[in-house]
């Protein structure tokens, strides 16, 4: 346990370093973008003095490191500046949009994890049979199709033709949302006992979550299969078989754990990246999420929003990395947690 704590502490320390590095990287990219964001935000006809005023407020006329200093100072107090697009504080924007994306990612993650691993395991166990080939082809199709194409197809089939699932938004208009405890509607609904809201929110989550999950789950199925096939050929499996250990035990106790290592690595990172890459799906379902907000920010050169969104997404990635490393360390004790040096 002590080792684990040491590991986490060490990684957290490094994470701070990474976050700072990331903030500098994004800050530079955002500020280096050509154009006059203040002018863009205020419109073509705003008088020059109004534009200048905004530039002053945003310190846009100062050298880069001075701008960074002001930004960092504000950031440490939770103030990420004002968004040029929504005209309110970026921190408020993130508080409003993040839970929506998180909820979407959570449900997509559930689909991804369960369906992906199950498919991959089946495929790998029955390697080179028709079951395996069928699953492989299905997962290729899943990998190759962009999530927005799935989104469009699902909307057309379930919303337009069959009309059994809603098209846009998180809740049906007219339904009173539950009091906002976490911002994640399904949790809030469960906590406050509003089951009608819970089901309504689930209905709205189904299509976007599955659209987002299709690509990653196919990838995981493939990786699990590939890894399982690799490991099945390893010596220790053969020796276990020759010892007479039943196939089932071999599968679940000895094979699955190490085979899942690449899958879990990818799962963690896929989950974190869903948050970032969901913008097209969020666009189609009019989902008020962080990714769509970030995309708009990028297209409209909303500097403060871009920096803040990338940092939030970065933070999540880092956390996902740490969790993945911990899990991998548990699954393959030989790797350990990096705190022991190899005997050289």
């Amino acid at each position: 346990m002590g080792k684990t704590i040491k590991f986490i502490a060490k990684r957290l320390a490094f994470s701070v370093f990474v976050l700072v590095g990331l903030s500098i990287l994004i800050f530079v990219i955002a500020r280096v973008m050509p154009g006059n964001p203040a002018r863009m935000a205020l419109g073509a006809r705003a008088p020059e003095w109004v534009v200048e005023k905004l530039r002053e407020e945003m310190h846009l006329n100062e050298p880069l490191y001075v701008q960074y200093y002001y930004w960092a100072k504000g950031a440490l107090h939770g103030n990420f500046g004002i968004s040029l697009v929504t005209r309110r504080s970026v921190a408020d924007d993130i508080k409003a949009f993040f839970p929506a994306s998180l909820e979407l990612a959570l449900y997509a993650g559930i689909f991804m994890g369960i369906i992906g691993i199950v498919l991959g395991t089946i495929s790998g166990w029955y390697a080179n049979t028709w079951v395996d080939n069928l699953v492989r082809i299905i997962s290729y199709m899943g990998i190759v199709t962009p999530s927005f194409v799935f989104a469009i197809f699902f909307v057309l089939i379930f919303s337009y033709v069959l009309e059994i699932l809603p098209t846009i938004g998180r809740l049906t208009p007219g339904i009173v949302p539950p009091p906002s405890v976490t911002g994640v509607i399904t949790f809030d609904a469960l906590i406050t006992g509003r089951f009608d809201v819970f089901f309504d929110a689930l209905k709205h989550l189904l299509l976007p979550a599955i659209s987002l999950a299709m690509g990653p789950l196919s990838q995981e199925a493939r990786l699990t299969r590939a890894s399982l096939v690799d490991n099945v050929q390893k010596d220790y499996i053969a020796s276990e078989r020759s010892c007479g250990i039943p196939e089932r035990t071999i599968m679940f106790k000895y094979l699955l754990k190490p085979s899942l290592i690449p899958t879990i690595t990818i799962y963690g990172l896929d989950f974190a990246s869903i948050l970032g890459n969901a913008f097209l799906v969020e666009l189609i379902f009019n989902w008020p999420g962080l990714s769509r907000y970030g995309m708009n920010a990028m297209l409209q050169k909303d500097l403060n929003a871009i920096t803040a969104v990338v940092l939030v997404l970065g933070l999540i990635f880092i956390i996902a990395n740490i969790v993945v490393d911990l899990t991998v360390g548990y699954l393959d004790p030989r790797i350990g947690l990096g705190t022991e040096r190899s005997s050289e």
């Binding site: 154009g35 002018r39 073509a44 057309l156 809603p166 938004g169 089951f195 209905k203």
Partner: protein
């Protein structure tokens, strides 16, 4: 857990999920969609969605009729002094804001001062106002710094705020001295108006929900919507699904041609077409070789295939007649129109100094990636120019990048394909914002005309308080522009809004079109019939 229990649970879950149907609180909901963002602060908002919201939430002094002429609204009567510098407005008594307090001259003065101080949104239209005075409780005086003919037209963009409410919600400290933030934070998501609708919910980037003001000072038709929701998405597939499920009443005007065809096939859906004053221009940079040569520009004007544009790319639109959209008061109906004539094009091209080196001077045409049909226009242009030997390169970029590259002379492209509407319903508005020297570096001008004679002409025209005199001057200016050939005038863009003809009555779709942006979606004039909607849903 036994198998049967599991099956039971799953079935229950499915029933639960599928059975909670749509619950709509409003009886007569009216929903439109538009692209984001929308600013409901009258001193900040100026684009289409903001204007639409503002028209419904606030009141103005004058209200435009279908000719664009001012009718009394908050202003009961008004006069202008002989020298044109003083406008005296007499307000109607008894108009109440949404919080119940009365609208007085104090509120009018406060609103104008606030607009000019903040300087964003439509403030630039009111540069002419020197000061605002309160004469008595119901009389306001505007002192101008020079006579200004289109004064009344400009006032369609001046919305009256509830002074006490805003003052009570000012955040300090702020960038406006003792006015703090001037209420900008509050007005981001609340309204301080007296208009026929009030803000009910406004989750930014998702939708704006307005509910009817039952105490409005003008009686509203009982069939008008009791709720008006503006939804923030433009995705064709989404819009199509919403329309077919009768969850959207009027869609935006930017749907691609193929989507319109599909939408029309839905029972009860028609495409409402009207000219809203928007025109599509290929703005030609007059300072960059090779387009700095007038013969080169004229050659391009003769080579473009206008007919194919109108037949295939933007069907229903009409060819432009000069710089001003033909539905705008002041447009000259005698202006010449180019037609495709390759012989005349070659003749002009031969007179240009770049004739022998066409390969060395490619023409870059930039256009925004939305709406999608812009790309067809650009490729047609490319093909037409190739017919006379001119090389064209296309640059398809997001809107934000268009604004950026047009902001300086070096980066601005040879041709920019942009659509522009007048800010108020007069030809002068368009001429000024398109060609006057102070609008270079904005997205409304790519010509970089910088012509002092033109500047003088338009300033003179705007000063003329007499309408006939003013409009004559507009005609002369339009002719002057045609002679310079700084732009390819392509088409007056018909607004094509898919709408639920089966259960709503929309005046604009019937031809009662107000030539001011946003006013055609003033919900109090729209009628919604929920029983007909229920019929269609069966």
């Amino acid at each position: 857990m036994s198998k049967s229990v599991k099956i039971l649970l799953i079935t229950l879950c499915l029933i639960g999920i599928l059975s909670f149907g749509a619950a709509s609180a409003a009886e007569r909901p009216f929903r439109t969609n538009w692209s984001w963002p929308t600013y409901i602060d009258p001193a900040v908002g100026s684009d289409f969605s903001s204007s639409t919201a503002l028209v419904n939430l606030y009141d103005t002094l004058f209200y435009p009729d279908i000719k664009g002429d001012p009718q009394p609204h908050v202003a009961e009567s008004w006069e202008v002094s002989a020298d044109g510098l003083v406008w005296t407005i007499h307000l109607r008594q008894g108009i109440k804001f949404h919080d119940g307090t009365e609208l007085t001259a104090e509120d009018v003065k406060f609103s104008m001062d606030r607009l000019i101080t903040i300087g964003e949104g439509y403030a630039y239209l009111f540069k002419v106002i020197e000061s605002t005075e309160v004469l008595d409780k119901y009389t306001v005086v505007f002192n101008l710094n020079h006579p200004f003919g289109p004064f009344e037209a400009v006032m369609y963009r001046f919305y009256i705020l509830n002074k006490d409410l805003v003052m009570a919600n000012i955040e300090r400290p702020g960038p406006y001295g003792d006015m703090g933030d001037y209420g900008k934070q509050y007005l981001l998501t609340h309204d301080a108006g007296s208009g026929p609708y009030m803000v009910k919910e406004f989750p930014l980037e998702e939708y704006l929900l307005m509910t009817i003001n039952t105490n409005y000072w003008i009686p509203i038709d009982p069939n008008a919507p009791d709720e008006y929701k503006m939804i923030g998405t433009c995705e064709p597939v989404t819009i199509r699904t919403l329309m077919s499920r009768r969850e959207l009443e009027v869609a935006d005007r930017w749907q691609p041609v193929e989507a319109l065809d599909a939408l029309e096939k839905i029972n009860g859906v028609k495409i409402g077409e009207f000219d809203s004053g928007l025109s599509y221009y290929y703005m030609v940079n007059t300072k960059k070789p090779p387009t700095d040569d007038i013969h080169f520009r004229k050659a391009m004007a003769w080579a473009l295939d206008y007919k194919t544009v109108l037949d295939k790319i933007f069907p229903g639109s009409i060819q432009s007649r000069g710089p001003v959209n033909q539905s705008i008061p002041g447009a000259d109906p005698t202006i010449f129109q180019y037609q495709r004539d390759l012989d005349k094009a070659m003749a002009e091209l031969k007179q240009s100094k770049y004739y022998d080196q066409l390969d060395k001077y490619p023409v870059v045409v930039a256009f925004p990636s939305v709406p999608a049909d812009n790309e067809k226009m650009a490729l047609l242009f490319m093909s037409n120019m190739a017919d006379i030997g001119i090389k064209v390169e296309t640059l398809k970029v997001p809107w934000a990048s268009i604004i950026e590259i047009m902001a300086s002379e070096e980066t601005s492209p040879h041709v920019a394909g942009v659509s522009v509407a007048p800010h108020y319903p007069e030809a002068g508005s368009l001429l000024e914002s398109r060609y006057k020297s102070d609008s270079v570096a904005t997205w409304e001008q790519n010509e970089w005309l910088l012509d002092s004679k033109f500047d003088a002409m338009i300033e003179e025209a705007l000063k003329a308080v007499n309408r006939e005199e003013r409009f004559n001057k507009y005609s002369q200016i339009q002719q002057y522009i045609m002679d310079l050939c700084p732009t390819l005038f392509i088409f007056d863009m018909m607004a094509k809004h898919p709408y639920q003809a089966g259960y709503i009555d929309w005046p604009a779709a019937r031809g009662e079109v107000i030539p001011v942006m946003g006013y055609n979606l003033a919900a109090r004039f729209i009628k919604v019939y929920p029983d007909k909607r229920a019929e269609l849903l069966k």
